[in-house]
């Protein structure tokens, strides 16, 4: 069965304290690994797509990497405005298969 698992469920960081979020996947015929950010009461906001193992993408303080079994979202020197839920999803055939997300809180 296709599955995406994210860890940790919740993460509390001090401002400036770098860390990584993990996304493990077993998705047959994976055609892309997506990262989204979701703020409370809003829809997911697209961050990155990774298509092949070894690929890396960066945006501001975020960097996403992909291997054959997992993806990492590295957050460097986070700020309070980075607080959100980060969602990982694998694309297979006609749909995105989502993990349950990592809820990140960054404190000043």
């Amino acid at each position: 069965e296709d599955q995406v698992t994210q860890s940790p469920e919740a993460l509390r960081l001090q401002e400036g304290e770098s860390s990584s979020l993990n996304c493990s996947y077993t998705v047959s015929g994976l055609r892309g690994l997506f990262w989204y950010r979701q703020d409370p009461g809003k829809g997911p906001e697209f961050l990155f797509t990774l298509y092949s193992a070894g690929e890396e993408k960066e945006k501001e303080r975020l960097k996403a990497t992909l291997t054959k079994k997992e993806s990492f979202l590295h957050i460097t020197a986070p700020k309070p405005e980075d607080s959100a839920t980060y969602l990982c999803a694998g694309y297979n055939t006609d749909k995105l298969i989502f993990g349950t997300g990592t809820r990140l809180q960054v404190f000043p």
Partner: protein
């Protein structure tokens, strides 16, 4: 340009009533998706429309759920005889072509069934 829009933003209904949720995709996007996000759970795929092809309805949880897309643009998700377990956020997304292209999400409709 405008993003994906959904209406209503919130809907409270009584058990047994029918509800209709609307999605306006990004102009020019041929693919449209509906997902459901329940409290504490990940987004769950419901249905996928691509152009004039027959929709992929494999994620619809029961025959009380249906969706249509008129003129290749606006989509309506209908839930008949709502139950309390239907309470969730219903999210719509669109992409330029489908097939792994980036999906852009609307703000969602928060449905509460009393």
């Amino acid at each position: 340009g405008a993003g994906v829009s959904q209406s209503p933003s919130n809907k409270v209904t009584e058990k047994g009533k029918d509800v209709e949720l609307r999605c306006d995709p990004i102009s020019g996007h041929t693919a449209l998706y509906w997902y459901r996000q329940s409290l504490g759970q990940g987004l769950e795929f419901l249905i996928y429309f691509q152009g004039n092809s027959a929709p992929d309805k494999s994620g619809l949880p029961s025959d009380r759920f249906s969706a249509e897309r008129t003129g290749g643009s606006v989509s309506t998700l209908t839930i008949q005889r709502t139950q309390q377990e239907d309470s969730a956020v219903y999210l719509c997304a669109s992409s330029s072509m489908g097939g792994g292209e980036t999906q852009y999400f609307g703000p969602g409709t928060r449905l509460l069934v009393l």
